[in-house]
Amino acid sequence: MTSITPQRQIPASKRVLLMATCLCDAFFDSAAKATVEILESVGCEVLFPDGQTCCGQPAFNAGDWVASRKVIRHFAKVFAGNEPIVVPSGSCAAMIFHGALLAFENESDKATIQALANRTWELTDYLVNGLGIKEWKGIFPHRVAFHRSCHTRGTGSADAAQQLLQSIRNLDLLTVGEAEQCCGFGGTFSVSFPVLSQKIGELKLQHLTENKPDYLASLDLGCGIHIGGLLAKQASSLQVLHVAQILRDAQLNNQRFITQ
């Protein structure tokens, strides 16, 4: 696939600005905490700009680009600076380095948004391609099915995440059929086209659970809230974790193992 990531400089400093995403703000604090912990474990100083809200994607995808641009401008103001912006979501990261550029192609402050795009990284892309971490020290003795979320297409993220997961001791990374297929979330699509969204989601779930995983993993909790919601409705106890949670837990397991 043709790359959609901008030309980014490999950052010199390990100071990063964390964009936690609105889904972590509202539902998945555990994923955001894990993100902070693993970034710090590799020597990053994590700053959390307080004024942050959302990346602007809901309105952008809904076709309301006027509303979306307002939110993106707010984002640009809150995340001003030179530090890399690290996002534990392929979708929100792609919104800033790809979607926002579309929304601003005819705007006078396009250059500001381009500069923002050039500093924005999805978490595992930053770890592997930004910091050069090629393997993850840890133990995670479970079967994991990785959902390759769609908005990491054309970026280094899915490969980066799989590389890290694969390097974890005792982690059994399962094969997933039709890995290129969407889970059916699509933001507002999931509520304006509920029948399509459900049917696509149930098919995805079949593929993800085919090889009997202990956990599902994703870089996107948008997919997570949809897949997890379908699972819960089916009274399944299978959990969807953010990749960051697995990386963090693998580290903790490793420390326990060493101290024992």
Binding site: M1, T2, C22, C24, D25, A26, F27, F28, D29, K33, V36, F48, D50, Q52, T53, G56, P58, A59, F60, N61, A62, G63, D64, A67, S68, K70, V71, H74, V78, L102, C150, H151, R153, G154, E180, Q181, C182, G184, F185, G186, G187, T188, F189, S190, V191, S192, F193, P194, V195, L196, S197, Q198, K199, I200, G201, I225, G229, L230, A232, K233
Partner: protein
Amino acid sequence: MKTFQQIDIATQELDPEVRASVYKTGKLKIETRQKVLARDFGSRTDKIRETAGLIKQHTLEHLDQYLEQAERVLIKNGVKVHFAADAKRANDIVFDIMRCNNATKVVKSKSMVSEEIGLVPYLESNGMEAVETDLGEFIIQIDDDHPSHIVSPIIHKNRRQIAKSFEREGLGDYNDDPSVITRRARKHLRNKFMLADVGITGANLVSAESGRIVLLTNEGNARFSMAPARIHIAIVGVEKLVPRDRDLAVFLNILTRSSTGQQLTVYTEFICGPRNPGQKNGPEQMHVIFLDNKRTEVLASECREILRCIRCGACLNVCPVYRQAGGHAYRSVYPGPLGAVLSPLLAGEQFPQLADLPKASSLCGACHEVCPVNIPIPDLLLRLRNKGKEMGVAHAQKGTPDMTAWSLLATHPTAWNTALQLGHAMNYTPESILNSIPSASAWLSSRSLPEFRGGQFRKWMKKRK
């Protein structure tokens, strides 16, 4: 279940057997495509897709120049060249050619552009006999149906339905063996080929350098339609041009591999002009009708990349929405991701009627990934959503939550944080009350919501400082 949009309703109503057939065919074609491209081109595949896209984009940006060049060389080759601004004009040109030559019988090859202009019904209503000769299109014609896929028009039918149609049309007793069905169609169509005055085709590609028209078929019907007929008419969308003969190779390498996973179609025709004095067979006259039909408007729009499309159908085959909804759900000649962009644009002033099509996508990008000419389809869908919103097309907005309040919150951090606190009420709200909010009920129809934990992360982060 709560549904808002026409495509969602069509999906709910689609016969599960049809859905299964569309899914199975799409999946098989995509898997074959992937295997063949990996085997033949490996990691160069994306480079070829990008190159093909650049050639097409270049041609589109110099379309006036390449059209003139093609016209000159086609005339030199002995072809009569016509330009049709719209569907009606194209149909009239065909009719006039037939009338001037006392022709009444047409055999037609598969061509999406002829579907677009409604050629067959037009000719039939004007007293001509027009027969579809592609097997799938022939079945569509006898059933008075519409294609639901641009390459596999009867992807929505099974052999039992086809056997019944053949029985009804007096083509033999009920028999659903595909080889029997094919033999019967072949026998029936052979007579039509032999008696036809005119063969009508589309064109997969046209070289502006030589005027060569490339026709790809697996059944040989395009070739056959040019054997006994006196007149060959090719109806060609203006976007089918490529600059040079050598460019044809790029597209021949990628088109069928993307479409059916074949290295080449069974028949590949390069047509330069009518029969020359030394040739025994072939049409005495050849006409090329270049069709605009809103294409120059698309060229002037922010979605011009869609004109690169070479109609391989890969985006339909891979699309999770198309696989569930089927082609007819798109209410237009071109379904799937390509159609969700092209159809509303070709509708011109009727754009609002189809403004819901660009919304019927999770923006997953699988279409972009497989596109042989690298069209960024999700970007174009997004531009059209913005256009629909700006035009205030109400039905396209159905089910989409209003973003005004959200954008207000998302630009005021204090209000945002308050909302994160207030949101906890959600955890105690009975589902029956949540269901009174349309988008909440749409969500809850098949999914539950996780516990709301607004502000928890911020609290934790503050404590660490």
